[in-house]
């Protein structure tokens, strides 16, 4: 690997981490769309900042543009508060206007500004290593690396300091407010970090990849874990994995790096969406099928329990009886046999004592909804899980 290659992957990975952290909270707050709004509406901020500083990498420009991001959020909330339109409509109203203002400003000053809209939206990671930071004659690396590294450090610092506050106000705004943790401060803090990250990253990776890196890894991690810290960690891992694998995918195809990383993010999400152990589509389908079978099993056992007469417990009679649902009687019978809940003698089915006890407990649970007594049944039967 050449130096430039390593630097590109390093920049992409740092951007991925810097995006995954605020992204996790945006996803949990159901605010994914707001990152899209921020990423577009910072354009006028960038242009104005560029007029003032004449330097796309100046910290002042980053702050000015990030301010536009926060203003976007304020405007969206203001419009929403009027109660005339919903949040998504408010977002759709605000950011195209701000974005167009940015586009017009660039068009008017096209001659003296080295900014073009393509670069803002898509970015060009491949070029990032060529813009070096030189300090008193010494080349210390690409500017983007320093910018995003700095932003990432601040983000991690804030995350560690305010993890508890972020968690509380994301889960329960009301309690946060009553305990004195102003949800507004935390909200605008998160919005500021998201805006600064977006601006700091856009030059290297473009606005679209920033949005993808904020939302996709967090959404993927959400399907896999029930622990906020693990969700943060997984988001970071997925982001970095997509960044590096996307880079090599682009290298192999000779295609856009940002495009390849976004593709990787999509593929990763799709895989998890399909195969995640408990929230994935396949797991959900399997669980529903199992539940149907178990309901049939229970009806079947209950029937046995309620009928002493042998005619009612003859295999042929039961065969007709169980088929009122979309479950095959053989499946139910096998499940009952496998669990030693029934015995079959001369085509007459009888409950075993285990089967009898199970049926009593299960019916009891369904009637009283008392959870504690069936804790051990939950492991074997989906029926009794949430």
């Amino acid at each position: 690997m050449s130096n430039a290659q390593i630097e590109i992957q390093l920049i992409a990975s740092l951007v991925a981490i810097a995006c995954a952290i605020p992204g996790t909270f945006l996803v949990l707050r159901k605010m994914a769309m707001i990152s899209d709004a921020i990423s577009h509406s910072i354009l006028p901020g960038i242009v104005v900042g560029f007029f003032i500083t004449q330097d796309l990498n100046s910290p002042l420009l980053i702050l000015l543009a990030a301010l536009t991001g926060v203003i976007t959020v304020v405007l969206v909330e203001y419009i929403q508060k009027t109660g005339l339109v919903k949040e998504d409509t408010a977002i759709g109203l605000v950011f195209p206007v701000l974005f167009s203002i940015g586009v017009l400003m660039i068009a008017k000053k096209a001659n003296d500004v080295h900014l073009d809209i393509d670069a803002v939206l898509v970015g060009e990671l491949a070029l990032a290593p060529f813009d070096r930071l030189i300090i008193s004659g010494v080349d210390v690396g690409p500017k983007s690396l320093w910018i995003i590294g700095g932003i990432l450090l601040v983000t991690i610092g804030l995350l560690i300091a305010f993890f508890k506050e972020l968690k509380l106000s994301t889960f329960d705004k009301g309690l946060a407010a009553s305990l004195g943790f102003s949800p507004a401060i935390i909200h605008y803090g998160l919005m500021s970090v998201s805006s600064v990250t977006t601006v700091g990253a856009f030059d290297a990776v473009g606005a679209i990849l920033v949005v993808a890196l904020m939302i996709a890894p967090a959404a993927t991690a959400y399907l896999l874990t029930t622990d906020l810290k693990k969700m943060l960690l997984l988001s970071i891992v997925f982001g970095v994995f997509s960044a590096i694998s996307g880079y090599w995918f682009a290298h192999w195809l000779d295609a856009s790096i940002a495009g390849s990383i976004t593709t990787m993010l999509g593929v990763l999400f799709l895989m998890v969406y399909l195969f995640a152990p408990s929230k994935g589509i396949i797991a959900v389908m399997y669980r529903e099928k199992q539940q149907r079978t178990e309901v049939s099993l229970l009806t079947f056992l209950l029937h046995l329990k309620n009928h002493d007469e042998e005619a009612e417990r003859h295999v042929n009679h039961l065969n007709e009886h169980i088929n009122w649902q979309k479950v095959r009687s053989k499946t139910v019978l096998d499940l009952a046999l496998k669990n030693n809940m029934i015995v079959i003698n001369n085509a007459i089915v009888s409950l075993t004592s285990k089967g009898n006890e199970f049926t009593t407990q299960a019916i009891d649970y369904i009637i009283t909804n008392e959870d504690a007594q069936i804790e051990d049944m939950k492991d074997d039967f989906f029926l009794f899980r949430g």
Binding site: A161, F162, F171, D172, L175, K230, M231
Partner: protein, 244 residues
Amino acid sequence: MTKIAVQVDDLTVAYNYKPVLWDIDLEIPEGVLMAIVGPNGAGKSTLIKSILGILKPIAGSVTIYGKSYEKQRSLVAYVPQKGSVDWDFPTTALDVVMMGTYGSLGWIKRPRQKEKKAALEALEKVGMLPFKNRQISQLSGGQQQRIFLARALVQDASIYFMDEPFQGVDATTEIAIINILKELRKAGKTVIVVHHDLQTVPEYFDWVTFLNVKKIATGPVKDIFNDDNLTKTYGINYKVSIQE
């Protein structure tokens, strides 16, 4: 004379400039177990949120033991309406109960062993200790409500505000919760509960406030829980049979 735990003066609260609570005056004496009753949309949740500084009123004031809420936060615990949070949030029962300790910790400081121990004790009290590591979406409605109650208990407050703690819970949980509330009152705490089931008001509570945009009445259940006030609050001709 008993002390006044919560005093509300001329409180008017609006959403988007449309008032939903008009000119509320309310005195809640220390040590009562009080129900707030009123139809849906009467402003019961809004009243609690305004007392707790979650909503800013457009007029009026609230004091807790004579001082502003901001100064008395540590005396107050709050159980929001269950539907106000996302139960799919990636966290466990124990972690949610720990949130009750955040107030006394303040900004930045993290919960440690002491806070964890308090949370475990509260879980024990509401009978949810076996479920401490369960993800909250995997709990039944009644269990979720018990978790919320445990989170309030861990705050170890003097005044408890609970927004519909019996919503969507089974009979066993309802009895368990009311017993804990009665214990709190015995310990001298003031407990304020938004309540829906009018039949159980005389059995569960000793104080009641009727609310429907305006305050209709407030006082001891035995004096003011009658058909007249119910009709004024609910609009229709209300009859409850109060069993002694």
